[in-house]
Symmetry: C2
Subunit: 150 residues, 2 copies
């Protein structure tokens, strides 16, 4: 049984996530997903959707065999528990393969780190871009943008 671990925030599920998880699943027999805790998302704005709800949506995806929330303080703890052969990174995840592989090795975890490429069929392969689009299209007009001169 070749276990693969994929990780992420999965704030607003889009085809880029689906692609990342499908490609991750293809690298083994069982896909385990670790969903980031709200409190651990610090390198980008806090998620719009809470961790329990993000987990529920990930669990509903057909290529996901198991999903769980990350550990609050020790990111390696669930990886140790799952003991995967492969850990995948999404195209925009902020770790480098080398750094992560080094940190895993120091912790005694022998998993191979694989970067999954970007899904490029559409513009909405990142939550950031979806949120930008919402802000662009749904924002109340700001006073300086009004065209009636008032």
């Amino acid at each position: 049984m070749r276990r693969v671990v994929a990780t992420g925030t999965f704030d607003i599920i889009h085809p880029g996530h689906i692609y990342y998880l499908e490609e991750s699943r293809r690298l083994g027999d069982e896909l385990h997903v670790i969903v980031a805790r709200d409190g651990n998302v610090r390198h980008k704005p806090r998620p719009v959707i809470g961790e329990a709800q993000r987990l529920k949506v990930v669990q509903a995806l057909r290529m996901v065999d198991f999903a769980r929330l990350g550990h609050e303080t020790d990111m390696f703890q669930p990886i140790e528990e799952i003991n995967p052969e492969v850990i995948t990174l999404g195209f925009n995840q902020h770790f480098s393969e080398e750094e992560l592989a080094k940190a895993l090795k120091e912790r005694g975890i022998g998993a191979r780190v694989v970067r999954i490429g970007e899904y490029s069929e559409d513009l909405y392969s990142s939550t950031r871009r979806i949120i930008e689009r919402i802000l662009e299209t749904r924002r109340r007009p700001e006073p300086e943008a009004r065209k009636d001169g008032t």
Copy 2:
């Protein structure tokens, strides 16, 4: 084979959608989802995510057996093709059960219409509320809201 049809825009997938689709699936043996065309979403703001991408995410959900885009002009055409025993409505879908049942009957479709209740475990059971939250928390401050007096 008891076919169930569920319909919706599925713009930003959240646990409310998962609940609606799971409950729909339980009413039969095969769940067919009809995803609204971009051009047919007229009773609420246009979707943030395009129809092809919305379809892809719905197809990735494990309780969904088949998913397709709706017909551009005839909403009953895919329902006729699928010939379901049950058609479900989400808690905030704008049709009434009676109106829809009447329109189906006039078209010669004998399906039963079932309203699925609201998923109430969290605040994010509607895309509208998710978008409101994005606008509230991520909006650039507007000039009148600035606190530094400039």
